[in-house]
Symmetry: C2
Subunit: 319 residues, 2 copies
């Protein structure tokens, strides 16, 4: 991370700098994000994906089909709260993945709330990886559920397939609540091109252009927008091209580590000074104890060391 601030001219930004004592209420998501990256000196995002099969032995009850659902969900939540403790103060944000909580129904969502609250109390930004998307009145309910009701997320991921009127309620919530969204543009899975590459220009570029446009009305004083984009790191050339199309859009770059991306693949997603992007790793951190490199280590120490390794690797590759 090199010198920061001032790298981007904030066109149309009119929001005053946030007072420290009321940072959340006063500021935009873009500003909180930029500040968190600056404070932490890195752009690592810890994905909270509790794959039950991979949980350390002390949380094994989570995968015991014979145990009560609430007990299983609690064990999953216990594990994630410990991961939050590992991440706190070191990275800007965590990204809980709602699917794994939803497996446990209402008990899982109680743990979602616990983990989100714990992360926020620890000073971490929370990006709810929910990938929601629906027609206007329903999208409004999703925005309320995740960006307004307590404990709320700072930002969520959303799916653009339904179009601009379906995205609008999320943008309204961002403006009203100082929240953020990351729109799926280019995902990190192997066959993401099936629909995302359709047409000429390919669909994902059209989505990117819309994301840039939606975001132009939601700039923070830092010059970045509160409307971000999910851009897979397994396509590095596209990452550079999409960065040019979305010059002030915060990127959420999945696919690092377990999904196959490497640090050199993600550099093109950053703005100068290591700004404007978060690089996610989930399994590579949470289940580091299963990797040969961390053999014999307690799972929490392994997670901590894997996180340090990732932080160093990313810092070296961002521009």
């Amino acid at each position: 991370m090199a010198a920061r601030r001032g790298g981007i001219v904030a066109e149309g930004a009119s929001i005053s700098p946030p007072a420290t004592h009321a940072r959340e209420r006063m500021s935009t998501y873009a500003d909180r994000l930029d500040d968190a990256v600056s404070r932490c000196g890195n752009a690592a995002l810890v994905g909270l994906d509790p794959h039950l099969d991979a949980l350390p032995e002390e949380f094994a009850v989570a995968r015991d089909a014979g145990a009560a659902r609430a007990v299983r969900a609690q064990a999953m939540g216990d594990f994630l709260c410990e991961i939050v403790d590992v991440a706190a103060g070191r990275v800007p944000a965590v990204k809980p993945q709602s699917a794994f909580f939803e497996v446990f129904g209402a008990d899982g969502m109680a743990q979602w709330e616990r983990v989100v609250a714990r992360a926020r109390a620890a000073g971490l930004l929370v990006i709810g990886d929910v990938k929601r998307g629906d027609i206007d009145s329903t999208a409004k309910a999703y925005a309320q559920a995740f960006l307004q009701e307590s404990p709320r997320c700072d930002a969520i991921t959303i799916n653009p397939y339904l179009g601009a009127d379906a995205v609008r309620p999320f943008l309204d919530a961002c403006a009203r609540l100082g929240a953020g969204v990351y729109v799926l543009v280019r995902t990190s899975n192997k066959h993401s091109g099936l629909f995302q590459d359709h047409g000429s220009p390919p669909l994902h570029e059209k989505v990117a252009d819309e994301v840039a446009r939606w975001g132009s009305g939601l700039l923070g004083t830092c010059g970045l927008s509160s409307v971000g984009a999910v851009v897979g790191a397994t396509h590095p050339e596209e990452l550079a091209r999409l960065r040019r199309r979305m010059p002030v859009t915060p990127f959420l770059i999945p696919g690092y580590g377990a999904q196959g991306g490497s640090a050199k693949d993600v550099g093109a997603g950053f703005l100068p000074g290591g700004r404007g992007a978060l690089v996610n790793s989930s399994r590579g951190i949470l289940y580091a104890y299963r990797q040969p490199a961390y053999a014999g280590m307690h799972w929490k120490d392994a997670a901590s060391k894997a996180l340090a390794a990732m932080q160093a690797e990313i810092a070296g590759c961002s521009r």
Copy 2:
């Protein structure tokens, strides 16, 4: 509804007809759906979208921000359970919309479970309107959450943006659990064309072709597939064209009633004999008591009469 069965040749169908006493475990979603439409003699789908502002006065605590969340969620669930009672035995299926439950967090999801269980116990098929979609391992968790864990849905809606490998876990769950999915193809919102019309052929036709292909491996003995499509009724010409592209795909047609579609718009979505499609109405049924036509009537009587009117209107228009 005219003569049924035999209108479609079931290519590759090899599953035995289900025993009545174990219908759920033995049959495919396609067969349960076709049977339910046949038994009910109509294709009306009641959407359970609990817009808090529109709830009848006796459930007003649901919108009271000062009340405990569990109490508010319970009132919402009470209302929906009564709607389930109105629908039971008269329509093939109900479609709870998860967003409105998620507004109440874990308490809302407890009500989701209550409403899903109530509807299934009443003999209704349940289509969970969750519009989920994510990379493979995460999609697998969503499939487990909604199609496997109790109380499970018979089918759910899913979003195709991530591509075939992200849809695959849902298809696997359909095969393994006798479940169904409805893939978003053409949605009913005003500006759905922004991305869904992109390219040539337009994206939604490409998605339609994939849906037909995905579904060809999941045919019931009735000849229909367990892989359905969401196709908006506000575009009737497209409905006919998409029906030709997806000849054995069950359609879920939203946009009837409050969203602007009329009965004559939906006819093109049906297969001969009134088969192969469900037509959804949510607000038009649930909040009928607010319409001039039902002025002065108890909300439940109004809902019941509005449902009867819809059933008659759809029956007259399906081929």
